[in-house]
Amino acid sequence: MQHYLKFQSVSKVFPGVKALDSISFEVNAGSVHGLLGENGAGKSTLLKILSGAYIPTSGEVEIDGKVRRFHGTKDAIDAGIAVIYQELNLVPDMTVEENLLLGHMPLRHGLIDKKTMTQVAREALASLSGEINPKSRIRTLSIGQRQLVEIAKALIRDAKVIAFDEPTSSLSDREVQKLFSVIKDLQGRGRAILYVSHRLEEVFQICDSITVFRDGRIVKSFDDMSALTNDILIRNMVGREIKDIYDYRERPHGERLLEVKDLTGPGLTAPASFEVSKGEILGFFGLVGAGRTELMKLVFGAEKPVQGTVSIAGKVMDASNIGSSIRNGLVLCPEDRKLEGIIPISSVSDNINLSVRRLFSRFGFFINRGKEAANTDKFIEKLSIKTPSSAQLLMNLSGGNQQKVILARWLSEDIRVIILDEPTRGIDVGTKSEIYQIMYSLAESGMCVVFVSSELPEILGVADRILVMRSGKIVGSLSRNEATEEKVLKLALPVSGNV
């Protein structure tokens, strides 16, 4: 088989960071090559070089035996490369079909040919998922649906090399399986595919070969998947053994602390009620779009409830007053990092201390740089945030490290109840297990942890009790002991759906 895509000692240096150090490997046509590695290992940087977004400091990219130099993303697109980024790049106020064909809209008599446009879009979308209407605006779609639009874009361009940067982090299981069948199909048609993910089970399911990165270097390449195990991969990625990434710790529960009663509001189809005790980790599972994020925003006060109350230790919270929620120790680490979490043009330190700095400041007004710096250093260490300095702008951090910074922002607070909405999205295995440990110790010190996740194994592995949501309402509650994959899924799947 011929090597279709080849990296030839590619290096990339940023101020203070050597993101890639002499990377060489090749990918065959008709194969799926997995890229694994810790947060900040350099995976996305490599894909950005492939897409023409970055110019390598040294080294070369070869496609089909020819050295190609890209001076911009257009060059790469013309060379038949499509990269589907970790952070989606869609125009929110345009329709799906306009986004799909942006840059090469079909024309008739010099005007946009809407009919052809719709048809092309519909065909591409149909091979992924029939649910998306080409006429809807991107803004109205869920993150999962937007991801599918991105993939459809690559399909329309008929790219020869397709690179996926954590494509499944926001997809439901069903959508993941659909994506895999699309990838298998592309593979059958001789495309060279690069696949970045932190989910090892996916990598085993879809990849023919794997390269593991650490600190910008290749640790090891594996061509034979049959001899490979989870443990070997983890050891190569993290550099140490992790026996059980959940490593669940049993703990006693105290009296009831958080009480949500008959809460209704946007995104919910029935009043939601639940309680959490001190020391408890309550998991929320549901498919993408089940209303978990909406419910959490109502609880936190980021959205105005139509009715219902949230109380902590018997004290009713001020409805839709985020400031008062935080002051009462109720915090939410939001799901959508890019839109709701990061301040890209601010430093790591400013991002971490965004909310908690009021506690460090004098009269709530004059900030205390010393305390802020100490807090920043503490979390850079604790969550192993990879950054050259605490003054680095957040946009220069890798996706997973940005997520850690947002987590640090909320862990800095004086918490009684913490709601974590998909906290491990885009986070590497090693840090994931650290985050679970942090959740256990928060609970052990008497806090409530509300943990929203679309990854069933981690919900089953970490939560003491699981609430399942389906189309805007809570449909079931399972204790840790009774919860199994089947039971949870049965509750979460639409009643009519037979998947």
Partner: protein, 321 residues
């Protein structure tokens, strides 16, 4: 290895350009003008230059906050004129300087408050809101003054604008104090940091418990107050309240900020940069006057400078994507 070194060197240069690019531009420009334009680098002219930028300087401080939070304020120029007229009318009416100054500043506070309320609470675009407010206030200024300058009878009031302290004009001293105050506000207080956070990502700031609306209202209120104060100083210098003064003043302040590296899309801005921006604008103006360049050409040059500033902003943003 040598490739790495050149990269490192390039990065150092880039960092210098990002942080101090306009400062270097200013220093080079200042030296060149000192060499080639006679009478430029003299104590007298330096004092004149400082005096001429003092009002833009003061209001650029509040404009910096406004832009850094991702908003605009075009109403300041009308506030300057209106507060001058208000001060003049009140002083003539009551004979009290205190009442005149307080009344003028209060009117600015009120206008700023209304701006802030409309923009933050009613979620109306800041550009449109403050442009409308500019028209309204300009109009009210003409109505109150009956369309012509209102001479001020109490000459003790003129000390504010024309007095000296240690042979430095009072307005210049005030401007320096304002710069220091707002530098502290921006860098050392939660108010300043939160302002930048709002400009950087409003939703993230809101979800972090920052009261976005309140901060915006404070920003516009302070802006109104500062513009009104500048208007009082100007009236004192001109010994009258003039309803038609300071057209284009808002854009001068915005250009100064942008020249100083404040991002038009919010989230980025430094007080040092703003000072440099103000000085660049003032120096160019001053040099053109010394060289007797006709007003018509001065307009062209000022326009070009603004264009240059916005281009710079664009370039910086493109790089950061």
């Amino acid at each position: 290895m040598s490739a790495n070194e050149t990269v490192a060197k390039k990065n150092v240069l880039k960092g210098l350009w990002d942080n101090a690019g306009m400062l270097v531009v200013f220093i080079v420009m200042f030296c060149a003008i000192s060499l080639f334009v006679p009478f430029f680098f003299t104590w007298r002219n330096m004092i004149g230059l400082a005096l001429s930028v003092s009002m833009v300087g003061m209001v650029s401080c509040t404009m910096l906050f406004c832009l850094a939070s991702g908003d605009f304020d075009l109403s300041v120029e009308a506030i300057v004129a209106f507060s001058g007229v208000t001060a003049a009318v009140l002083i003539n009416l009551t004979g009290s300087i205190v009442i005149g100054v307080a009344g003028a500043i209060l009117s600015g506070v009120l206008i700023g408050l209304i701006n802030g309320f409309i923009i933050a609470r009613l979620k109306i675009n800041a550009l449109i809101t403050t442009y409308a407010m500019q028209q309204i206030i300009r109009g009210v200024g003409f109505i109150v003054s009956a369309g012509s300058a209102v001479g001020i009878s109490n000459s003790r009031f003129f000390g504010l604008g024309s007095g000296n302290l240690l042979s430095i004009p009072i307005p210049v001293i005030i401007t320096i104090i304002v710069f220091i105050m707002f530098g502290i506000l921006l860098n050392k207080t939660t108010y300043g940091r939160n302002t930048l956070a709002i400009g950087g990502n409003k939703e993230a700031a809101r979800l972090a418990g920052i009261n976005v609306n309140r901060i915006k209202i404070v920003i516009f209120t302070l802006q109104g107050a500062m513009a009104a104060f500048a208007g009082v100083v100007l009236a004192s210098r001109m010994t009258s309240g003039q309803p038609n003064t300071s057209t284009g003043f808002a854009m001068d302040c915005i250009s100064a900020c942008v020249l100083g590296g404040v991002s038009l899309s919010g989230g980025i801005g430094t007080i040092l940069g703003t000072i440099v921006g103000v000085l660049i604008i003032g120096t160019v103006q001053n040099a053109m006057n010394l060289m007797n360049i006709p007003t018509f050409y001065q307009y062209v040059v000022r326009g070009l400078i603004l264009l240059f500033a916005v281009l710079l902003d664009q370039l910086k943003q493109r790089k950061s994507v």
